[in-house]
Structure formats: structure tokens, C-alpha cells
């Protein structure tokens, strides 16, 4: 188990050492976002602008026009909402090479309550032209995708989570922006997931397997540009899809998959995620359960699609 925010701390340090143009712009939560080591080792590539997120976005835009590759580091709630218009105006519209790297995505700032939980973040970012969105699910894929984001020329929103999550991949696995990864192969039902809930989806696959149902599990780590080929294949080859995410079911991965299905005019999609309600203080998995997201419920939903029982 290792947290995605730790993956960010480790990978950004490696990237910064390799490339003096890689910058980190902190907003006074470097400690939680795991950038302290970067700040200590590479002070010439580091800025802490204080609790001033809108300014962080604009400063990064300015840095980018001078050839830097700034990673703004903050919580997802602030990185997607407090600086939203600045991202739109000064980063996405002029297509500047700024990365918005956010920890504490979804319900993971569990005890902090609704103010700090970000259940809307990549849904908002998804509507911004020129934006690329990455939602990794484990430590190694996270590191690989951060590296890919650094090499990608243009705005990228990266969503990490707070708590340690199980390893799903090996260190040597490489990930490509826009190319979904098949975690499990199967032909009875497709489960499309991303982020910290991937381990629940995997457990659901095991539960289904024990009932003789084989699920294809896709890691949709790139929410935008969506791997429409992988989604199309799932719909045309299987036709039954469950989406699972730690995000509002509105405008998240479920919505993106539905858009593809609607375009094809076929397929059934069940969206699992936050039920369009704010979070509250409580343990992470209790909060997910309150929204109907558990391994058992994912398996039940998938099985009902296969058997035709509601």
C-alpha cells in the first residue's frame, strides 16, 4: 500500500532533478501534498505562494511562457474550483504548459468534511477545452502518468488521493495518456473505473468470478481525452458496463462512458459513484458506502446486468 500523493512527491523530485525547468508551485500545503523534499533539494525550482491559489495559477502561466514546466500543487477542491477561472483563462485558453497536481481528490479528505472533499473536480475540468485529465489508481501507474504529464505539451489536471492504496501494477509497467489499461479480461460484463476505488472494483471482479461471471476491468486513468476505442469495444463486445469512481456520478467517468454509448446507440451503463450529494466527516469507506460504492455492491450491480435481474 502506498498513497498516490507519495507517488507525486517521489516522481516530481525525480523529474525536477532531471530537468531544471520542472517547477513546483506550492500553496502552503506542501506538507500534505508531499512536495517538501522537492522544496528542500531543489529550492531554485520551487515557489510557495502562500494560501493564494488563484495567484498560483497565474504565476504558473507566466512561468510557462518562459519555458518552465510548473506543477501547481494543492488540494483538488481548491485546484479545480478556487482557481477554475484562472485555469480556463490563463492556462487552457492560451494552451500553456502548466500541470495542476492535486492531492485529496474525491472523498479522501474524509475527516475534514465536505469543505475539503472534491467530488466535482474532474467533472469541472472535463469541460475546459485543451485540458487533459489523469486519475491514477495506484502508486506505480501514478508515477508513470506524472512522468507522461510532464512530457505532454499542454495543460494537465492530475488527481491524487490522500490515503495509501493497494499496489495494482508493477514498477516496470508503463502508462500512456489516453490509453486505458485492461486490468482483468472477461466477456460477461465490463467495469470501467479509475482512481482509489480501483481496488474495490478488483475485489468485485473476484466476487463475480466466484459466481462464474467474468468481468473485464478497465483502468480509465485518462478521463480526457477518453479512450473511446476501449469504451466502444466494451460496449460492442459486451454491451453491459458498470462505471465506478470517487466523484459525483454527474459529469465524471460514468457520464463520459454514457456519451460514447449514446453515440453508438447501444449498451447499458450503470454509473456508480457519489450520488450528487455533498460528503461529510467520517471514515473514507463509510462515506463510499453511503453512496453505494462497495466491492459487494459493484459485484451485485454487475451481476444484475448479466442476469437481467434488477
Amino acid at each position: 500500500m502506498k498513497a498516490l500523493r507519495d507517488a507525486f512527491g517521489d516522481e516530481i523530485l525525480a523529474l525536477g532533478r532531471e530537468n531544471p525547468n520542472v517547477y513546483v508551485v506550492d500553496c502552503d500545503i506542501g506538507k500534505s501534498c508531499k512536495t517538501l523534499e522537492f522544496a528542500r533539494q531543489l529550492p531554485q525550482q520551487h515557489l510557495n505562494v502562500g494560501i493564494a491559489e488563484q495567484n498560483a495559477a497565474g504565476v504558473s502561466a507566466g512561468l510557462a511562457t518562459c519555458g518552465k514546466i510548473p506543477f501547481v500543487s494543492t488540494y483538488a477542491a481548491f485546484g479545480s474550483m478556487r482557481m477554475c477561472e484562472q485555469i480556463r483563462q490563463e492556462i487552457c485558453y492560451p494552451r500553456l504548459n502548466v500541470k495542476i497536481a492535486c492531492s485529496h481528490g474525491g472523498l479522501t479528505p474524509a475527516n475534514d468534511g465536505a469543505s475539503h472533499q472534491a467530488i466535482e473536480d474532474y467533472g469541472i475540468m472535463r469541460t475546459l477545452p485543451n485540458m487533459t485529465i489523469l486519475v491514477p489508481c495506484d502508486y506505480y501507474s501514478c508515477r508513470s502518468l506524472i512522468r507522461a504529464a510532464c512530457q505532454w505539451d499542454g495543460p494537465v489536471y492530475l488527481r491524487f488521493t490522500r490515503d495509501p492504496v493497494p499496489f495494482i501494477y508493477r514498477e516496470s509497467d508503463q502508462f500512456e495518456i489516453g490509453r486505458a489499461r485492461t486490468v482483468r479480461e472477461g466477456g460477461d460484463v465490463a467495469i470501467i473505473a479509475a482512481g482509489a476505488v480501483m481496488s474495490l472494483a478488483l475485489q468485485a471482479c473476484d466476487l463475480l468470478h466466484s459466481q462464474g461471471i467474468e468481468a473485464r476491468l478497465l483502468d480509465m486513468h485518462t478521463v480526457k481525452p477518453l479512450d473511446t476505442a476501449a469504451v466502444t469495444a466494451a460496449i460492442q463486445e459486451i454491451g453491459r458496463v458498470v462505471t465506478v469512481e470517487d466523484h459525483n456520478i454527474i459529469n465524471g467517468i460514468g457520464s463520459a462512458v454514457c456519451e460514447v454509448a449514446a453515440g453508438l446507440g447501444r449498451g447499458v451503463v450503470k454509473r456508480m459513484g457519489v450520488q450528487d450529494q455533498f460528503g461529510e466527516s467520517g471514515p473514507y469507506f463509510d462515506l463510499l458506502e453511503k453512496n453505494g460504492v462497495t466491492a459487494q455492491s459493484i459485484a451485485d450491480t454487475a451481476r444484475s446486468l448479466v442476469t437481467g435481474e434488477n
Binding site: 502552503d28 502562500g50 475534514d112 469543505s115 461529510e280
Partner: protein, 278 residues
């Protein structure tokens, strides 16, 4: 003599408040002790002397309102509200628990006595300005007090709100800056130098005061001066404080911004507070 008794009594209350908020954080094993302790004396004078409140009628329209813009120090607010009988003391045991009325950051829909939900820094002052304008236009005598952090003044929105308070000459608005000199990632001086906060607020049209935020007499005195003042200006009180005040190993230590004590630390903290180290 009467004044002396009042000071002594409030100082005792401040000790009780510090113990209560630390116990709350200890039981939750989650929360922000540093800034709760730095603002405990200000909160004591507010909740046990200055604010006009009706605990059994939390929505009394003519109450003085309080905005905790630095929402993460809600343990000190919850402890005040419980001690003032807005809700039973037992509720404090459920801080940050699933289904609790006491959320990780203040939630006006769940907690009696919380006038506005906060938690994302820099936003509370704007809300306080809105309340003060509404009271002014409704000829409501209720005043609005807003506690914010020094690090929080990094947020530009604080200065947008300050401009507006000044424009509308909100002399029913009192900002209290808990100037403890530390923020999440380090000292304010390192992260974003606050410079002379009083000068900044003066430049934005405020009547300003600078006090020792741990001196009960000084806090009582500043509120008295504000009540006596007629200036058509909003007020900013820059209260010099010590983060973690009252617990030796927490004082001026950045790490205690948002970390709960273990049992041994908790017991030592309670002992130090009782001995009145502060």
C-alpha cells in the same frame, strides 16, 4: 475590583476552554490544536463576555454573529458553544465522527450556534461583510465578529472583502486576526511575509488595533474601545498570539497545526494547562 474578578473568572474559563478543546481533539484523534489554542483567549472573551447571544435561541435575529473564517480551528468554537450550552457537552465526543453534528469544519446546517459554514480559507470575511451590510440595512443592532488567521490573509478574497467593508463603512464589523506567525508549511515570514498587518488594513480603510491576544485585560479593553468608538469604519484587531499557547511542546511548533496528541502528550498538555503555564 469588579473588573479584576471578571478578568480572573475569564482566565479560569480560558483554562477550561483549552482543556475542553484538547480533550475533544484527543478523543477524535483528528483536528487542529495549534490555532485552536492560539485563539482560545480571544474566543473566551468573545463567548463569555462580549457577544450578545441566546444559547437556547441560536437564531435570535439580533444576536451578535460570529464567523470562524479559519474554519479548521472549529474545536475551539465547538468547545465554546458546548460550554455556553448551545448543545450538550457530550456532543464534543463525536467530533469528526460519521453522522456527527460536529463536522471537521464548521457546518451551519448541523451545528446550533454556527452562523456560517467555513473551511476553505479566505472566504469567511466576505460572508461577515454580507451579514454586516444586512444588519446595517435592517437597522439590526447585532454586530459581526470574524476571526481569521494571519496566513489566511494571503488570500486575495480577504482584501476584496476588506475593500467592501470599507466602502460600506461597516462599523458593525470587527475582524480579529489571530496573528500567531505560523501557517501550515512553516512560518508566515518564510511562506508569505505578512509585513505590518495593521498598516495593510489601515491602507484598506480600517480602524486598527494591535494587542496581545493572550491578555484577557487587553482583549476586554479593545472591545470596550471599539464599542466607544464612532468612526464609520470597520475594525481590525491584530492580536499577537502564540500557536499552541499553553502547552509547552506545542508552542510555536508548526507540526501541531493539524495533528492530534497521543495519550501521553494529551495528559501532559492537560497538566500544563491546569498548572497555568500560560
Amino acid at each position: 475590583m469588579l473588573q479584576n474578578n471578571k478578568v480572573l473568572s475569564l482566565e479560569e474559563t480560558a483554562i477550561a476552554l483549552r482543556k475542553t478543546l484538547l480533550t475533544t481533539i484527543y478523543k477524535a484523534q483528528s483536528g487542529h490544536p495549534g490555532g485552536s489554542l492560539s485563539s482560545a483567549d480571544l474566543m473566551t472573551v468573545l463567548y463569555f463576555d462580549e457577544l450578545r447571544l441566546r444559547p437556547h435561541q441560536p437564531k435570535w435575529p439580533e444576536r451578535d454573529r460570529f464567523v470562524l473564517s479559519k474554519g479548521h480551528v472549529c474545536p475551539v468554537l465547538y468547545a465554546c458553544l458546548a460550554m455556553r450550552d448551545f448543545f450538550p457537552m457530550e456532543e464534543l465526543d463525536h467530533l469528526r465522527k460519521f453522522g456527527s453534528i460536529l463536522q471537521g469544519h464548521p457546518d451551519m446546517k448541523r451545528t446550533p450556534g454556527v452562523d456560517i459554514s467555513t473551511g476553505s480559507l479566505g472566504q469567511g470575511v466576505s460572508c461577515a461583510v454580507g451579514m454586516a451590510i444586512a444588519n446595517r440595512r435592517d437597522q439590526n443592532p447585532g454586530r459581526v465578529f470574524c476571526l481569521l488567521g494571519d496566513g489566511e490573509t494571503n488570500e486575495g478574497q480577504v482584501w476584496e472583502a476588506a475593500e467592501t467593508a470599507s466602502k460600506y463603512q461597516l462599523d458593525n464589523l470587527i475582524l480579529l486576526v489571530d496573528h500567531n506567525g505560523l501557517q501550515n508549511d512553516g512560518t508566515c515570514q518564510d511562506i508569505m511575509p505578512p509585513r505590518d498587518l495593521a498598516e495593510k488594513f489601515r491602507a484598506f480603510g480600517f480602524q486598527t488595533y494591535q494587542i496581545d491576544g493572550h491578555s484577557i485585560p487587553a482583549i476586554l479593553d479593545v472591545f470596550e474601545r471599539i464599542r466607544a468608538h464612532q468612526g464609520g469604519q470597520p475594525y481590525a484587531v491584530i492580536a499577537k498570539t502564540v500557536k499552541g499557547r499553553g502547552v509547552s511542546f506545542m508552542e510555536n511548533v508548526v507540526a501541531w497545526h493539524g495533528q492530534a496528541p497521543n495519550e501521553q502528550e494529551y495528559l501532559q498538555a492537560i497538566q500544563e494547562i491546569e498548572e497555568g503555564l500560560s
